[in-house]
Symmetry: C2
Subunit: 210 residues, 2 copies
DNA sequence: ATTATCTATAGATCTATAGATAATGC
DNA sequence: ATTATCTATAGATCTATAGATAATGC
């Protein structure tokens, strides 16, 4: 009987999908379980049948998204098999593309971490170990280049913050930026392409790679 | 009778103060009028006596903060009586200081504009006129410098986005950044001082001002 | 037998106001 | 007389569950 997907699977995932949208848009407090159920096309009771409580459903979404936080940040460090300039270029571009494909994620995570910093603590060991290792490698490489006069000396941590800031903020503040610069949303894709190049350039010039 | 401030004035402003804190922390939906009243040290009914509804009270805070949005962005453009390098340096530093002194403001405004983009429309004419004028002036100056080979050609709008991104994002994502870089909050002021210099440098190198 | 779904509603939470009382300023 | 404050509660909104019924998989 491969007619259709399992109906119950479908219901559960449709609730999850509707919940993600509602929680992203309105936050935990602003979201309504009745609205989520309606958007998912199921009765309200089904939501509680599958996830028991609103909090548990939210928890489920947050956990899923928290797992993307690492990638969201660390992808900017790039592939360490490449020469430094290519590595930086690739890191910035991949990171930019990841954010563009998940442009609602940063606002959601920033709000959630602000509201519940303890959630971040749970990931502490894991996160710092991986990040520390990657940052040390990058720092060593920058030091080597700088020693040979091939680039400006730089702090790898600061560089990471630079990249993430330049890539993420324009998405979070997109409506405000459109407003101030007078950009219309019509040429938004064009704006993004230019922005991506700009960010690569900004970082490379900071490093003065020759 | 200059013994004390007018008691009613005091009540009103204490409600406003408590409301700002509650709304910044929890958003409109998450805030409770009873909590605000308690934090302000007045009975719950007083809140409604002074501001009628929760929405009107929120509106009052949002309007106040929306008026800071312009300064939040445009202060980064700097004083056009200064030579370009000093102007940029001053703009970045002033903007950084403004954000540091109002580090909760960006998250609040980003969320509010996301939830109600129409609010931004209301400021449209005003904002674009001022920003357009300032950006045109800055662009002209950059063009002149670039023509003389004194700096790299650059788009003033992109430069503004660069500055705001570099200055604002680290405050919004402060807990996450601390987590990843392993910074403790103890040396946070030191971190901020370094960060401010970094941002000035990043922008100046992008422009390659000689 | 178990899993999924529905209708109907209990119970919790929160905003807002009614109505009484005290303080303040002409 | 007007303004500010309090207590008590109505009324709205929302989450969660009870209890009945239909669908599914051994």
């Amino acid at each position: 009987m491969d007619k259709e997907f399992n109906q119950s699977q479908d219901t559960e995932s449709r609730i999850l999908q509707a919940a993600e949208k509602e929680f992203f848009e309105k936050g935990l407090a602003g979201a309504r379980t009745a609205s989520i159920a309606e958007a998912a096309g199921v009765t309200h009771a089904m939501l509680h049948y599958y996830f028991r409580t609103k909090d548990k459903l939210f928890e489920r979404i947050v956990t899923e998204k928290m797992n993307m936080l690492e990638k969201m940040v660390l992808s900017a460090i790039g592939d360490n098999n490449l020469p430094l300039e290519d590595r930086i270029r690739q890191g910035v571009e991949h990171h930019f593309d990841f954010i563009a494909a998940n442009h609602e994620l940063p606002r959601f995570l920033v709000n959630e971490v602000y509201a519940h910093p303890e959630r971040l603590e749970m990931m502490k060991v894991n996160m710092q170990d991986i990040a520390g290792e990657m940052l040390n490698n990058l720092q060593r490489e920058i030091d080597e280049y700088a020693a040979k006069g091939l680039c400006q000396q730089a702090d790898a941590k600061m560089l990471l913050i630079d990249i993430v800031s330049l890539n993420v903020f324009p998405f979070m503040a997109a409506p405000i930026i459109s407003e101030i610069t007078g950009n219309t949303y019509e040429d938004y894709d064009g704006f993004l392409a230019i922005r991506k190049k700009e960010n690569v350039e900004t970082i490379l010039r900071k490093l003065k790679i020759h």
